[in-house]
Symmetry: C2
Subunit: 154 residues, 2 copies
């Protein structure tokens, strides 16, 4: 299905202190932006996700995802390209929208990114005061790119 | 899981005439031999398959496969790299082993390959008289390679 998302940097993470996050480990079998193949372990769940090229606006991208077992995810992660992503995900609901905030660790330490999923590209929403600049469609902030070229090396 | 297989060229296809094959269309999201990602439509079924690097012998390779819907397979095939493989698969049981015989079409026309799955690398079996030379582990006969460099261009 098509996913419509906007992505922002986060300038102040104080609001995360009272939330409980989930650790995410993910690697890539393909980092090609037109056919990205991701293997993810999130808490006790495994997932395989395939993403297509994003539209010109950078907001919309085909995404297919299946839950798999942890054992399968661990096996598939062994096949992944070098550069596994390690991050903690927090979720917060603001005015009927769920924001996903990813706090990166390891080679992407100090990077914090927030995403909101929308129903249409034109949908409006309130920007929380902890939001910094928008990076929607900036392929440097794709996790697949960060796995190859981590934030600490920029 | 680990798959142990041997692969051969086929010199005489007369024996296929009395068999009914299944058409297979498949494309690749990654042709990297260490993390091949294949999307297949076989008759009315869809599959996603991920294969790892083969062992030195060329006989054993990690393989993970999940059945998906035809609609999912068609969507994912739209993301595939250029060079979709089109072939007809026949199956024939000889002395407790199932041989899979692939008759290629399109750009791989005239290529016919037979595969047998084994329980161990040392397992012995009878070679049918239609078998030509062995090509196990020869990466040129990987379908992922044939999708990029079809037989007609060799």
């Amino acid at each position: 299905m098509l996913e419509i998302e906007r992505k922002y940097l986060v300038k102040n993470t104080d609001f995360l202190k009272e939330l409980k996050g989930k650790r995410i480990t993910q690697g890539y079998l393909s980092t090609d932006p037109a056919r990205t193949v991701r293997v993810r372990i999130k808490g006790t769940q495994g997932f395989i996700t395939i993403k297509g090229m994003s539209t010109d606006s950078g907001l919309t991208r085909y995404e297919w995802e299946k839950e798999i077992t942890i054992v399968e995810a661990e096996e598939l992660l062994e096949l992944a390209l070098p550069g596994v992503i390690d991050k903690t995900r927090y979720e917060i609901v603001i005015e009927n929208h769920t924001w996903e905030i990813d706090v990166f660790h390891g080679a992407n330490n100090n990077l914090v990114v927030a995403e909101i999923e929308l129903q249409t590209e034109e949908e409006t929403f309130t920007l929380p005061q902890w939001i910094d600049k928008e990076v929607t469609g900036d392929t440097r902030y794709y996790n697949s790119y960060l796995s190859e070229k981590p934030f600490s090396e920029w």
